[in-house]
Structure formats: structure tokens, C-alpha cells
Amino acid sequence: MNLGKVVGRVWCTMKDAHIDGHRLLIVQPITPELQNTGRRIICGDATSAGAGEIVYWVRGREASIALAPSEPPFDATIVGIVDEIHVKRPAETPAAPPKPNGRKRKGEAC
């Protein structure tokens, strides 16, 4: 499971029938220090998360299980909204520098 921040939504009309009724959110993966890391991904949502919220999400087969019984063909799903993060890193393992962000295209909304 990974941390992320909800930065947008996706709508689609023509889609797999099992996806009907599920929200699709754009999630920016973040570090515990709230720095962006890696590329944004599209997640299903099992928690009614909203824009700007910090969440944690699962990937793989478990992403479908989170939305049982419809089990849509998702490979990433938000399974919790984070209220607080308590970080206490030992001195010998400082935070890794954040990876570069995903490529931005001209006119990208989020």
C-alpha cells in the first residue's frame, strides 16, 4: 500500500460494465514527508475520498477485492483516508530524495 494525494477526477462513459457506479480519481503518490514522488495514477475509490485528501491505496488483485461484490477491473484502489501521519525516522535512515514528478503536458489541469 502507498500514500497518495487526490488531485483530480476522471469521467468515462464507454467502459467495462463492472465499473459502472464507481468513482475514478487521479492520485499523486507522495512520501510520508508529503513530497510528490513518481507518476500520477488513476485509482478506484472505496472510501468516498475528495479532492486534496491524503489517502492510501492498494495495487494489483487486491484493488478489485476492495470493491466487492462488483469487483471492477481496477489495478489501483483507494482503501483509506489518512487523518494523521506520525513519522520518526532514525538518524541513520534519512528520507530518500523525492523522485522527479510525472511528465507534465501543456494545459494539464492537475
Binding site: 495495487r59 484502489t77 483516508i81 506520525h86
Partner: protein, 93 residues
């Protein structure tokens, strides 16, 4: 499975019902020399680990679910043990 260090805890009230009653830990995967490997990840706790512990983390769904005792639930990482000692052959790092 990964070698990792517990570096934090998450508080979450609105979450999947299968995660209730278990601690959510932030774990930082480590290389064999103890340096950080990639970003910290979120794992459910199956052994009552705490901040600062060096632990073993299952990174696949079935093993993580089984360790936590909740099959058919959206869990893909779980802390499944404490690491006391890592013994390497000479020259391996």
C-alpha cells in the same frame, strides 16, 4: 519479502472495514547495508511492531492477507516479523 524499518504510523478513521483493529505502519524498505531503498510504503501490522523496529514485510496479496488473518480483503503489504540478525557470506553486500 522485504527488509524494512518502521518509520511511522498512520491514523485513518475512514477506511476499508477489513483494516479496522490493525495498526497501519509506514515502513521504509532497506538495502542489505541498511541504506534506504525507494520510498516508504504503508503496511498493516501482524506482529505488533513499533517505530524503529527492523522488520520483514510481505509484499504480495495472499501472504499479507493471511498474515493479518483477513482473507479476501484489500491488503497487499503486511509486517510479518522482526529481524534480529542478517548474516551474509563474506564479500556479499
Amino acid at each position: 519479502m522485504l527488509i524494512a524499518r518502521v518509520v511511522g504510523e498512520l491514523v485513518s478513521t475512514q477506511k476499508h472495514p477489513s483494516h479496522e483493529g490493525r495498526k497501519l505502519l509506514l515502513v521504509q524498505p532497506l538495502n542489505l547495508d541498511g541504506s534506504n531503498r525507494g520510498d516508504a510504503v504503508v503496511a498493516l501490522d501482524a506482529v505488533d511492531a513499533g517505530i524503529g523496529d527492523r522488520v520483514l514485510v510481505a509484499t504480495e496479496g495472499f501472504s499479507a492477507m493471511t498474515a493479518v488473518g483477513r482473507t479476501q480483503s484489500p491488503i497487499d503489504m503486511a509486517v510479518i516479523g522482526f529481524i534480529d540478525l542478517i548474516d551474509l557470506l563474506p564479500g556479499v553486500s
